[in-house]
Symmetry: C2
Subunit: 639 residues, 2 copies
């Protein structure tokens, strides 16, 4: 029943043969792999300017210079990653690169940072996407959290059905986003230089304003670095490119960097020029984003005010695509970890629709929890986000530097210099992130990564212990001393069938039949019987009438196997049976006992509620005993 509903929702099972990917040319690969990185421009400037704003109007003049620094960093990272895509044409994510070159510990660290990062990608992107919707339709403000959760549920569902990473699906929203923002920035600059719009003065910050200090500048830089999140995606997906894979990937990487740089610089410059800031309400919640304000300012008074809604729609769409990237990468990395025996095996199972169901569900749950905890507030989530991403950057590039030193390919000195410089810079930025954002939540990311690493290693250790224990040892098949024990609740057709089965497994001499007398009579009647006795002896004979009736019936139907009847003083089935088995194993020096539990199999599901409770309890108790194998022999009822 449940299975059928699942099938209806998720769609029919797909054959493994259908797991083919398209090979993407550069122009289609760009939208697939760059949506995550490009979408960051929707919030990076905002986060940077929010920090500067708190230090007053003068500090906001630093926004553009800081964005220049961010872009410089972007190019350092991108040039370093271009080397990775050449070195790893089969795909070189941070996990693979650092595990191969720096060792297992660093690989697991990178994997943990990536996994935590994916969860944050979903949370931040969805929260920012919902912010874009709310900016356009302020009436939806009270439903912010519900919208976030709804979107996550929707994305989880779509990905369980198996969304294809199709270039044709990704191209329109990604290029649409780039194009809309290009138009917006150009129109803005033109109108600005023509003196068509007069910048309004900055609104005051309100409570919590502070003096401009180095820490403020570093924090603004650190927040601005959220623009770099998602840059690493291409290095992981080289095999999906059209041949020559590495060259195309490197080209895409460069294109992406140029577009992203244009967006970040353009948005920051125009926003600074028009003195635009996000709008907060009295509770300090952001109710309109910076890009939304920017679009309104630029388009105000023109006949193209409707274009504002296009801008918001494009922003929302690309942010949702970005979240989708995490939905593809998180389950994939989890399955890689599971196959390397670092994560539970369930995460390695390819589901009916050729996706890793469990990973998708896990990601959906974790990001929903995160977004609920932070009430869908992008501004609180960003400080958690970048710190993990920069761990990945640093490890990946350090790994590359190490690789050059190790393998010494042609021109390895230059390569090592680029990667080494990249690792050094991103490492420095990681430290900056840590210092600047620690108390704003970066510590949560660090703790999560630490806990995750611990768990991964713990799981790995367990699987390795087991692997060692399970190593097959060649040995002669030895004769097994074996008994079959049939449990007899009463003499009925199901028991007779179970006995027949037992006879197929063993000689009648090796079969035992056991009945436990729990006396279900209510105390009022029981008391009357007991009254007449004084000592144990007579009491033992007391149960005889019922037991003897059973013995007679038994002998009539089962002449070849004797029935043992044991009284259970405490009305428990389990303990006397356990005791009996223990004794049997010890006395007869057995290697194995097969316990046969006869059970009815009723025709309707609700009939199960009326039967077999004791069979369940028995199975649970007996499965803990070595040398005991429990076999349930079912008697299928016809009516």
């Amino acid at each position: 029943m449940l299975g059928r509903i699942w099938r209806l929702l998720i769609g029919p099972v797909l054959s493994t043969r259908r797991a083919r990917h398209e090979r993407l040319p550069v122009l289609l690969a760009l939208p697939v792999f760059a949506s995550d990185a490009l979408s960051s421009s929707a919030y990076a400037t905002e986060e940077m300017m929010l920090v500067l704003w708190s230090a007053g109007e003068d500090a906001l003049r630093l926004a553009f210079p800081i964005s220049l620094a961010v872009v410089a960093l972007l190019f350092i990272v991108v040039f370093s990653y271009r080397q990775t895509v050449y070195a790893y044409p089969q795909g070189g994510g941070a996990f693979i690169v650092s595990r191969e070159n720096l060792g297992e510990f660093w690989g697991v660290l990178a994997a943990s940072a990536l996994l935590v990062g994916y969860v944050l990608t979903v949370a931040v992107s969805i929260a920012a996407g919902v912010n874009a919707i709310i900016s356009a339709f302020p009436a939806l403000l009270p439903y912010r959290l519900s919208l976030c959760v709804l979107f996550i549920a929707l994305m989880t569902y779509i990905n369980l059905r198996g969304a294809r990473e199709s270039g044709l699906v990704f191209a329109p929203p990604t290029y649409g986003f780039v194009l809309t923002f290009a138009i917006l920035i150009l129109v803005g600059l033109a109108r600005g230089f023509a003196g068509d719009i007069q910048p309004a003065p900055y609104p005051p910050y309100g409570e919590g304003a502070q003096a401009l200090s180095l820490l403020v500048i570093l924090t603004a830089f650190a927040r601005g670095c959220s623009a770099l999140t998602g840059v690493e995606a291409i290095s992981d997906g080289v095999p999906a490119f059209k041949s020559p894979e590495s060259r195309n990937a490197a080209l895409t990487l460069l294109l992406m960097a140029l577009i992203l740089a244009g967006l970040v610089l353009g948005i920051t410059y125009t926003a600074s020029y028009f003195q635009v800031l996000p709008v907060k309400n009295e509770q300090g919640e952001i109710i309109e984003t910076l890009t939304s304000r920017l679009a309104r300012t630029v388009l105000e008074g023109t006949p193209f005010e409707w274009f504002y809604y296009i801008v918001q729609a494009a922003t929302t769409l690309i942010l949702i695509l970005a979240a989708n990237t995490a939905y593809v990468d998180f389950p994939r990395l989890s399955s890689v970890l599971a196959n390397a025996r670092f994560a539970p095996r369930q995460l390695a199972n390819l589901g009916d629709r050729l996706v890793f169901n469990n990973g998708i569900i896990l990601l959906g749950l974790l990001s929903a929890l995160l977004i609920i905890y932070f009430r869908g507030d992008t501004h609180s989530l960003i400080p958690l986000y970048a710190v993990g991403v920069f761990i990945g950057f640093t490890l990946s590039q350090a790994g590359m530097a190490r690789r050059f030193a190790r393998l010494k390919p042609p021109r390895w000195r230059i390569g090592m210099l680029i990667s080494g410089f990249g690792a050094f810079t991103t490492g420095l930025v990681f430290m900056t992130q840590l210092v600047a954002n620690f108390r704003y939540g970066a510590w949560i990311t660090l703790v999560s990564i630490g806990v995750l690493m611990f768990l991964l290693f713990k799981v790995h250790e367990h699987y390795m212990t087991i692997k060692a224990q399970l190593k097959p040892k060649p040995s002669e098949p030895q004769p097994v001393r074996h008994r079959v024990l049939v449990l007899v609740p009463s003499v009925h057709q199901g028991v007779l069938q179970a006995l027949n089965y037992a006879r197929a497994l063993a000689h009648p001499d090796e079969i035992e039949a056991l009945h436990i007398n729990v006396d279900p009579r209510p105390p009022a009647v029981y008391r009357r019987v007991l009254k007449r006795t004084k000592d144990e002896e007579t009491e033992l004979r007391l149960v005889t009438p019922a037991a003897e009736k059973m013995q007679q019936e038994w002998r009539q139907f089962v002449p070849d196997i004797p029935l043992k009847i044991i009284d259970s003083e405490h009305r428990s089935l389990v303990e006397p049976i356990e005791d009996y088995i223990d004794e049997l194993i010890e006395q007869e020096q057995l290697d194995q006992v097969t316990v046969i539990i006869p059970e009815f199999y009723p025709r309707k599901w609700w009939h199960h509620l009326l039967h077999n409770q004791s069979a369940w309890i028995l199975r649970l108790a007996l499965m803990k005993k070595p040398k005991v194998v429990v076999s349930t022999v079912r008697y299928f009822l016809e009516r």
Copy 2:
């Protein structure tokens, strides 16, 4: 772990031998069996007067006459029941009497009415008990519902531990209650006749007042009849009396009737005399009960105002005892029904503490739900209560009348007359209840009884069908065509051990080993392998490297049994195995297949999360197949 916590809370297991009951002399039997009936006087007058109040001050003059009618009915019922205790010295509840004399249908109807009645007894008694507490401490008003649920939880817990129906425990609160109210009534009458207290005028009813009509009077009478609830208890418990059981029981019945009549008449008379009514707040909730008002009025201005708290404490205690009666009777009746195969077997299990755990838990849940639904309001619960009780009265007495007619014992005409008259009167009152209370909730009781009857018959039918199917048929033990199928996830020590076990069950020729190749490789890698092939043929050979490696390893460790490897196109384990088994059974004309699933048994509970998921899924799928017996062979890990 959970088991240990349960044991700690519930106490150690008790031996069946300890299931003895004390034999009660009349003076100790009275409190045990009469607490339910006597406690009704705490709310019967209140309910009656509330109805009359709505028809104005004049209508309230009818309170005492109506209570006389109630008492008259009480004696009719009691005289009829005196005959029952003589006829059924082994205990004659409504279920037994009507089943034996009127037939199965009426017996099940009586049982359903009784079960529903017990749930209502708990709900009404606990709600009324909490009302008594709130009357004394109005600050607790906001916690009414929480207090009700707390009391139910507490009673469920105490009864799971196994509360003894001890006369010595019941005597103080029951006699205490009778004594306090006797004092209260006598002091009240004395002060009233002495002119010490002037009756205050009745407060106006407020909204919803109506004209005095026959329906109002009948409704008041119907509500007043709630005083009779619990009267039937003695007839069920005759065996618990000291010898001569029946005579002592009849005597107790009479004593109880006299005391109850005194209480009802006394409370109604004094309340009418002082013109006392319960206090309602603006929401129409009763915030002080009639008996509490009565006690305050009588004691006001005397040096014995503290006695008020004694009255309230005694009221609360006896109401809780009354609820406890249901906690003993509901599980007992359920177990009788279960043993007669009308209720699920679980209800017949005598628990560790010699009580019927499942019945107690069920009662607790149902009454808690009821009390939550009615927000702990006695006034809404009473209309549901009496109607079911009167079904029991009517059936029980009709059964007795039928019995006299059938068995014709000495002086059977008089007996039949008494019982017949009782049945007629209570039947009439049942109709009155139905008409007067139908729209106030009596329909809920009727529907519940109807649904319950349907369920009981449905369960009975099912058990009877099964019994017929399970009737053992004598037959020669036939040779069984049997195969053992060992499922092989990979070649490891656990599988080798499972094979060893299989060899104990069957000859190597009858053992098959099966591996399902689900190819857990992620699509990115898989694709590359598939790319090189065009037709099915080559693809089939594709899996060969891994499969061949496995075959080699297999042959090394298991020379005598060949391994079959099947590719699973949809990565599912279950379907190919099911198909294989179906084919095997058909081809080889098998009677039975034993499927051996090797499983690890890890040392720590959380390790289970990392293993054996597919074993679980397989077991669930295969248990639906006839002719298949699933055996899980566990390999116990040492580390």
